[in-house]
């Protein structure tokens, strides 16, 4: 069970499937909190940026005066984990962005939005995740990682189909990102992996 000594994992709750991330954290006994306002950010030790629509999240983060505070916390070393739109929000650069679209950044990678195509191309596929093993990859109008700079660990690639070999999970230091949605499955190993990263923060 979680104790007050355990870190609080915030989940950015502006838009998207943030409740599924909270449920995943609860299932593994981690402490969690919804983050919707700058005040909420101060009481968390880490942040999950959920799946959703990245342009909407960017706009809502800006109007809620959350954009700069989140960007700064990440730059200062707060652990963060992004899924799908969350991966886009953690990337330093995006291609196929909406006009003027900005990200929190932190991961020195280039991410392509809607890279696999439209919703009719959305798919499921088993993914080999480095250090975890095989798990179900649920890809929904997903981005992929077009390129990574030195020092970024590639944790998973697409294993079949037309996008074979594309990078779909990365980590650098305290930041983790996946193109797919572990929160939509009952498999909690990636959330456990992230919570372990949060416990080890600073030493990374």
């Amino acid at each position: 069970m979680a104790t007050t000594a355990d870190p609080v994992i915030g989940v950015l709750a502006l838009q998207g499937d943030f409740r599924e991330h909270v449920a995943a954290l609860k299932a593994i006994g981690a402490r969690s909190a919804l983050v919707r306002r700058p005040d909420d950010l101060q009481s968390v030790d880490a942040l999950i940026v959920p799946g959703g629509e990245s342009t909407t999240m960017w706009k809502l983060a800006t109007t809620a005066e959350m954009f700069e505070p989140v960007r700064k916390r990440i730059a200062d070393g707060m652990p963060a984990f992004g899924t799908c739109a969350g991966m886009i929000m953690l990337a330093d650069r995006i291609t196929d962005a909406a006009a003027g679209q900005q990200t929190f950044g932190g991961l020195p990678i280039t991410v392509r939005r809607n890279a696999f195509g439209r919703q009719t191309e959305s798919f499921e596929e088993p993914i080999a995740f480095d250090g975890i093993g095989e798990l179900a990859g649920v890809f929904i109008r997903a981005p992929w990682v077009e390129s990574v700079e030195d020092g970024v660990e590639v944790l998973a690639r697409v294993t079949s189909g037309p996008a074979i070999g594309r990078i779909v999970a990365v980590r650098q230091g305290n930041l983790l990102a996946t193109s797919f949605h572990p929160e939509l499955t009952a498999d909690r190993r990636i959330h456990e992996f992230f919570v372990a990263m949060v416990h080890d923060r600073g030493s990374a």
Partner: protein, 303 residues
Amino acid sequence: MSVNETSSQAPELGTARVKRGMAEMLKGGVIMDVVTPDQARIAEDAGAVAVMALERVPADIRKDGGVARMSDPDMVDGIIEAVSIPVMAKARIGHFVEAQVLQALGVDYIDESEVLTPADETHHIDKWEFTVPFVCGATNLGEALRRIAEGAAMIRSKGEAGTGNVVEATRHMRQLRADIKRLTTLDSSELFLAAKNHQAPYELVKEVAGTGKLPVVLFTAGGIATPADAAMMMQLGAEGVFVGSGIFKSGDPEKRAKAIVEATTHYDDADLIAKVSRNLGEAIVGINLDTLPAEQRYASRGW
């Protein structure tokens, strides 16, 4: 299997999980009706999570009368080209060929919608046949579960589209919520009768009784015109909002669209809703439901 290995298993397209999951990604967001690429761009700039491409907004369909059908493919293409967010489009109830066309055009979600003139008075579309996901309207739990049994991956309360009057959306959200709450109080022997009464598959009734929620995402629609309307629907349990005529039939669509997006996210923050509700210009004029004859009510289309 290591990170660089390949698999012989092909990617599986259009699974129930990716169809329902797409709706999960829209949660907490606003989906806006648009009839031109320019309107689509205004919606995207305002923070819409998706746009609904259609030929006429419901208020104009009411005014013009006649048969309302799927949009011209050129118009759908133009909107797909104009924005990077998901694009939905409407097919007539039961018109599976309109749905096939919309899937071929690459729309991201199909709304089998009572706002258009129904093409089949007996059957809805068999939505399992498609890789594109469907959203359908419902006025109560039985109707929602019948649509889910046919393959709908998302439900919206119907409300009464094109009226600018939230009263029917309220009625349908409260009905859905009450139906679900009641199911959770029944014991297992009572669920068979509940399934019969709701005219819905027993397995789905049992699932809802166990989880206390629909197996798919529930949005609201039909008559939402103000930020406060959107926030009320969210407080009543909607997971997101469709706004049809309410935006582009108002005095200042850009400002109203942004305000409704913010009120949907911060639906429990009255100070913020007050702030975004100021000086929005004129809202859609609206129609009182007691002056709307039964044959002009869209919510009674579909069964």
